[in-house]
Amino acid sequence: MHRRRFLLGAVIVGFGNTSVQALQKLTPGMVPPPFSRTGLDGKPVDLAAFKGKVVLIDFWASWCAPCVIAIPHFRNWQARWGGHGFQVIGISMDDSASEARATATRLHVNYPVVMGDAKLAIGYGGILGLPVEMLVDRDGRIVSIWHGETPPVIIENAVRASLG
């Protein structure tokens, strides 16, 4: 489904034109699209492997100030709650892996980071601005989605609630 939507190619929408397919937005309760990629550290990262955990998916980029400001919070939560079934996964929208890797190293990221692309982003409803965070519960369903700069305490409270 997601592959077919991507292969539709160039489509123009807007001004009431309903004859073409728009981005399929993800909403709470939905299951996030699966993905399996090689992480920046060379290890495989498969979203399905984290079923049963509370997962925070973070779309970010090295040049995105709000993204970079949020990462130390995610790192701290990973360290604090990783043993309690919590997992952060970073998806970098940088053009090059070297830029993402340098930033992840500088910020001492302690969770897997993969490179994102347009196909993956469209599958996630379009990542048309950064950052975007998505919280997935232990049943593999989306709990919350945050677009743009979000106070960390809001995400933290949602994580705490999901961890129980």
Binding site: V11, A61, E149
Partner: protein, 149 residues
Amino acid sequence: MRSSLLLIPPLLLIGAAAESAIAATDIIPASALIQPAQLASELKAAPPTILQVGFSKLYQQAHIPGAIYAGPTNSETGLTALKAEAEKLSRDAAVVIYCGCCPWNRCPNMDAAYTTLKAMGFSRLKALYISDNFGQDWVDKGYPVVMGQ
């Protein structure tokens, strides 16, 4: 003041400096801004030349019809791409640059793109004011968009 500064861990200061270095400086004058509704209206009549100066994965997902990718202008590579596209244009052409990667005051691309084009002599240069991001301020508003290219 000095004593309180001394209490701030050095790493935090380094981090703050790094973050400010990638944030916008907001040097584009208000008179050079164009609002999304106005640009959307102009697309139907006399479209200007539109340059997307943000990250390529945003452009590949969705962009304004007719927009040319020329970025990201927070890098030398992106500025080179912008200059190459700009060289093809008349200096009195109506040109609109936009990004939408992140909130306006956080964008690392718009100031550099605006400054570069102004220095090249573009007299009818406008910057699309996207307050939050391209998704919320353009796509979600129902303005024209090309997707998946």
